[in-house]
């Protein structure tokens, strides 16, 4: 059952609405993967989307970025409807994402992975490229320097020539995030960025997320399973299960929400948690 509260998120933030999703539905044949999903995200927010496996979280990402076609509903990005647009058009409007299983360009160098993000505004055309004209050479130099500086921001500049698939896992994830940011998005979708990381890497990741939000003036929507990351980084959380939103709130509210606990751990755990919190408040 959808949470009764409508789509407002963190009530402190009164910035402009960046992403407005209304009554989003996605059906795969008979399977209703996403049901009446609503969400409003304002500029600068860091929002989490959590839920058990198969809840529909990545499906929502894919719907936003155009990889899946919307069955019904609307997705407005800065007022523009994204429904029906091609993925690359959506990226050009200012939304970038990372993937659950890191999708770098495995045989390309670190530098090239980032340079591809600049392709849409490379500044030269096809014929300039084939002829290696002066114009091409100037613009390409600019592009490359920009990319190298960008790598520097993420401390990857020394690795610029390395082949992406040879990088250690943590650096691959960092590169993927850097690459997404090279596309200069306003909204960044991170799909389980902490997957497969050890605690130290997770801590680094959390710092990185805070850093990029400041540095690049981003709005971030994050899917994550590791509660440490979710609770430590997100300001506002939406919980999904079976394609529907079952709860919204701050990290503290979500942690103690019995509906959420039931979704993740089952009815027994929810009851237990209720008893525990009652005991705690009695003891207090």
């Amino acid at each position: 059952m959808s949470h009764p509260e409508v789509s407002t998120s963190n009530s402190d933030n009164q910035g402009p609405v960046v992403l407005e999703i209304q009554n989003l539905n996605k059906n795969f044949g008979g399977l209703r993967a996403v049901k009446d999903f609503n969400k409003t995200i304002r500029k600068g927010e860091l929002v989490g989307l959590i839920g058990p496996n198969g809840a529909g979280k990545t499906t929502v990402f894919n719907l936003i970025t155009g990889l899946y076609t919307v069955s019904s509903g609307s997705i407005l990005f800065n007022g523009k409807n994204l429904v029906g647009l091609q993925p690359f058009e959506i990226t050009k409007l200012g939304i970038a994402r990372t993937f659950q299983n890191i999708r770098l360009f495995p045989n390309l160098s670190v530098l090239d992975n980032v340079r591809i993000a600049y392709h849409t505004h490379a500044g030269y055309g096809f014929f300039d490229a084939v002829l290696h004209s002066q114009h091409y050479q100037a613009k390409e130099k600019e592009l490359t320097e920009r990319a190298q500086e960008f790598l520097g921001v993420f401390n990857l500049q020394d690795r610029q020539g390395e082949i992406a698939r040879n990088l250690p896992y943590g650096e691959q994830r960092r590169l993927e995030i850097a690459r997404a940011l090279a596309a200069e998005p306003q909204l960044l979708l991170l799909d389980e960025p902490a997957a497969g990381m050890n605690p130290k890497e997770v801590a680094n990741l959390m710092e990185l997320i805070h850093f990029i939000r400041e540095r690049f003036n981003l709005t971030i929507l994050l899917i994550e399973h590791q509660m440490r990351v979710v609770m430590g980084v997100c300001e506002w959380i939406t919980v999904m299960d079976f394609g529907e939103v079952i709860a919204r709130g701050t990290p503290e509210e979500i942690q103690n929400n019995p509906v959420v606990i039931e979704a993740y751990l089952g009815r027994g755990a929810a009851v237990l948690s209720k008893q525990l919190s009652e005991k705690r408040s009695n003891a207090a």
């Binding site: 795969f28 044949g29 399977l31 993967a33 899946y68 076609t69």
Partner: protein, 371 residues
């Protein structure tokens, strides 16, 4: 106001429901049907003759198509070498009959036996032996050329399949293996033909059939009967036996099948074997019907069988039969009404149209996004 919004609504529908594309296809279909219909009216007996010829080649294609569809369903490989198995079947049976007279071996061993019974047993033996040989050959190929590449990019397996195909053809062309020449096939059983005109009459040798009659031979009956028997056996295996269940499971989800304790390697081997056996049988039937056997004979029928599988829905067994019958019919009609070389062009045009309109084929599931 109303009129323009009605027009724009219509316009929207035209785009969404792909009217231009469908209109284009409809135009082609109408032209084709019209052309055929016109010719059918001109000469109905020719038309029915085509239908019968189409039936004959259609069933042969079906046998080969099954191998393609089953192998693709299970390992996602388009086995280019499959058509050459068909060729090997034809050659092996030829040598068995020509050199060793395998088709009448009971008469050699039991001289008192009735010749027809001997022929029956002998023919069945020949067919069986050929099928077994082809099956073993395919299993060997799979084991040594395809299996090592199961985890490699698909393209490596595809190119290897092309390599195996070339190798089978030209190795077979070597004089001490088969022969580079054309061979006239001697079928295991004598041919009897009938003609239909007002009734069914036996065709005497040396006597021309009257104009406007439709001719068919016992070969047609044997092909149809044999194919149906083999297809029924296959359907039984796939639907009713444990190994069939294992095959379906492996085709559906290989890693899970492995986890369930299914011997996936064995199942893949068996799939190749069954497909090859059917293709080998198809080779015998084809050679019996069309007489000419040569080392390159498997290429075109192989590709046509593949198109049949795509048309019917790759991975679907009934689809392979239906697709093959349709394609066989289309081929014969084009050969009859346009020209013989054009039948190949028509076959591939059908392929391209199928891929454009409904790539999953007749019995395949309609395209969905991956969940």
């Amino acid at each position: 106001m109303e009129k323009s919004s009605k027009i724009s609504a219509l316009y929207e529908r035209a785009i969404r429901e792909r009217w231009i594309g469908k209109g284009f296809l409809a135009l082609i279909a109408v032209l084709a049907v019209g052309y055929i219909g016109f010719n059918a009216k001109e000469s109905p007996s020719l038309f029915f003759q085509q239908l019968i010829n189409g039936l004959q080649i259609g069933f042969v294609y079906a046998l080969v198509a099954l191998g393609y569809t089953m192998v693709y369903g299970i390992v996602r490989l388009i086995n280019f070498a499959h058509g050459d198995v068909f060729m090997v079947g034809a050659f092996i049976s030829f040598f068995a009959i020509d050199r060793f007279e395998l088709h009448i071996w009971p008469s050699k061993v039991f001289p008192a036996i009735h010749p027809n019974l001997s022929l029956l047993i002998g023919t069945l033996t020949t067919i069986l032996m050929t099928m077994v040989f082809c099956a073993l050959m395919a299993m060997t190929i799979e084991r040594f050329a395809y299996k090592p590449l199961r985890t490699a990019p698909r393209i490596s397996a595809l190119i290897t399949a092309i390599g195996v195909s070339f190798f089978l053809e030209y190795f077979g062309a070597l004089p001490f293996v088969f022969t580079p020449n054309f061979i006239t096939y001697k079928g295991p059983f004598p041919t009897t033909s009938w003609y239909i005109k007002g009734g069914i009459y036996k065709l005497e040798s040396g006597v021309a059939p009257p104009d406007g009659s439709v001719i068919f031979s016992n070969i047609l009956i044997i092909i149809v009967v044999t194919s149906l028997i083999l297809l029924s056996i296959l359907q039984f295996i796939v639907r009713r036996t444990k190994i069939g269940k294992a095959m379906r499971a492996t085709a559906f989800d290989k890693p899970t099948a492995r986890l369930m304790g299914i011997n996936v390697d064995g199942v893949i081997s068996v799939t190749f074997a069954i497909g090859a056996a059917l293709a080998g049988a198809g080779g015998i039937l084809y050679a019996t019907a069309y007489r000419q056997v040569v080392f390159l004979m498997g290429i075109m029928p192989g590709l046509k069988a593949f198109i049949s599988a795509v048309l019917g829905g790759i991975g679907s067994i009934p689809g392979a039969l239906v697709g093959a019958l349709i394609l066989g019919q289309a081929e014969v009609l084009s050969a009859g009404y346009i020209s013989t070389p054009m039948r190949d062009a028509v076959a591939f045009t059908i392929l391209i149209l199928v891929l454009l309109v409904r790539p999953t084929g007749i019995f395949g599931e309609p395209e969905r996004e991956k969940a």
